[in-house]
């Protein structure tokens, strides 16, 4: 499995091809539905975001509570398409990558090409498995959202598949 360091550089993104299995190491920001609505509202209001978007990878996820002595609870991906209305705006402002499950809209796939981003597929439902790949976990913003708050994770060898690359390639199967 090809190792990929986070945050992403333009060179790394250029090299990724749909269908490739890669292992991510470095920093991820966790955000899902309610957090996305707030992030885009902040951008539209010209306000600063709680984390730098440039080169950042966002993980669509809402964990279970952290067991005593552990870094995080179960932490698998959620359905990415729910974040489709927000993703193009974030990509235009520097977001480099997203991690989730399921297909993206045509608008997101197009935005990945235009802004040189990448969408990774994470193994759906495998929350217990992914917990063992997380080495740091810190609350960053929107604590009131509970499991939908923004967290900063540090991951090591976090396995994903390149689902949509910056060249327009897709790993998803299109049923006839």
């Amino acid at each position: 499995m090809k190792p990929v360091s986070l945050p992403l550089t333009q060179e790394t993104i250029e090299d990724l091809r749909a269908g490739e299995a890669v292992a991510l190491s470095g920093e991820l920001f966790v955000a899902r539905d309610a957090a996305h609505a707030r992030l885009v509202a902040l951008l539209e209001a010209g306000q600063p975001l709680p984390f730098p978007l440039r080169g950042a990878v966002v993980y669509y996820m809402g964990p279970t509570p952290t067991p005593p002595g552990a870094v995080i609870g179960a932490c698998g991906p959620t359905t990415a398409s729910r974040m489709d209305p927000f993703a193009p705006t974030l990509l235009a402002h520097g977001l480099a990558g997203m991690i989730g499950k399921g297909q993206r809209s045509a608008a997101v796939v197009e935005a990945l090409v235009r802004h040189h981003g990448v969408y990774f597929y994470a193994y759906g439902g495998c929350g217990a498995f992914y917990a063992s790949c997380v080495t740091e976990n810190r609350l960053v913003a929107f604590e009131d959202l509970g499991p939908e708050a923004i967290y900063r994770l540090v991951v090591r060898d976090f396995p994903v598949i390149v689902a949509n690359d910056c060249h327009g390639g897709s790993a998803f199967f299109e049923p006839a």
Binding site: G19, A21, M61, G62, P63, T64, P65, T66, P67, G73, A74, C75, G76, T78, T79, S81, K101, G102, Q103, Y121, Y123, G124, G125, C126, G127, A128, F129, A131, S132, G146, P147, P159, I161, A171, F172, F173, P175, A176
Partner: protein
């Protein structure tokens, strides 16, 4: 008339909820392992082997299989010849759900209202509760912890009364095709046929309580389930939607009488984490 203290349901129900978010039924594990072994699509094979590893890690570390530990769905069947005494049974069920989600460190995923206000109840209450009266003196509680990645892909069609078995199958196939990889395939598909719109929807959930490797008692429906499973797997969506042999692990259908003018068909999509249990007292 048998008398039964409703409070006796608390422990077995809490324990069932604690178990199903961490451990899958053996027949589901067997089906996923078999799917991983025969898969030829490289990405789908990777997905299935990771799912099997995840099942092992969850069991060993007592972690939830998936971070979406679901909304609790409860189907209470009360025998005509049993009288529940003591604490109201609805309150016992609520206590069991709340205790399981707190003790199990499960994610609280329920909001107080869909719109006004959409705030987390922080207890995972309330569950969705269905009550039914049945012959006999037993009390049976079936529970599922229903994840919403798959629930969001569920749906319903009101077909013509003249619809053929083929039309019914096509309606189900259309829904699963449109869902693609989002509901965490390989899925388990519950089909509710007949009744009214709401009854069909409920039947599609009740059907999912059946064991994965059982057979429908009515031969025509058993054949329809088999044929539908073959058609769904022929879609090629595969594990994770990345293309593969196994899109669905099973199809479970339940039916009831309906009106001369209609044919309601409801489909509940369940993810591979087919979390369910039945408690009987």
């Amino acid at each position: 008339m048998r008398e039964l203290d409703a409070g006796l349901l608390f422990e077995p129900l809490r324990d069932a909820l604690l178990r199903i978010n961490v451990e899958l039924p053996e027949d589901v594990v067997r089906a996923l392992t078999a799917a991983a072994d025969k898969e030829t699509g490289p990405a789908a094979r990777e997905v299935l082997t990771t799912i099997v590893r995840n099942i092992g890690i969850a069991r060993e570390k007592r972690l939830p299989l998936c971070q979406d530990t679901g909304m609790a769905w409860v189907w209470l069947r009360v025998g005509d010849d049993v009288r529940l005494t003591g604490e109201p049974v609805r309150e016992v069920i609520h206590r069991a759900v709340e205790a399981a989600y707190a003790e199990g460190l499960f994610r609280k995923s329920v909001v107080a209202d869909p719109l006004f206000p959409r705030v987390n109840t922080r207890t995972n209450l309330p569950p969705v509760l269905h009550v039914e009266f049945v012959p006999g003196d037993r009390v049976t509680v079936a529970v599922m912890t229903k994840g919403f990645g798959s629930e969001n892909k569920s749906g319903l069609r009101m077909l013509l009364p003249t619809a053929t078995p083929d039309d019914v199958m096509s309606a189900v196939v259309d829904l699963v095709r449109a869902a693609k990889g989002a509901p965490c395939p390989p899925t388990v598909i519950g089909v509710g046929l007949g009744g009214t719109m709401d009854a069909a929807a409920l039947l599609s959930k009740k059907a999912l309580v059946r064991e994965l490797d059982d057979t429908h008692p009515q031969p025509e429906y058993a054949a329809l389930e088999r044929e539908l499973l073959a058609r769904l797997n022929a879609l090629g969506i595969g594990a994770g939607g990345l293309g593969g042999l196994t899109t669905c692990l099973g199809v479970k259908l339940a039916s009831m009488p309906t009106h001369i003018a209609g044919m309601p068909v409801a489909v509940t999509v369940n993810c591979w984490a087919d979390r369910k249990a039945v408690v009987e007292l």
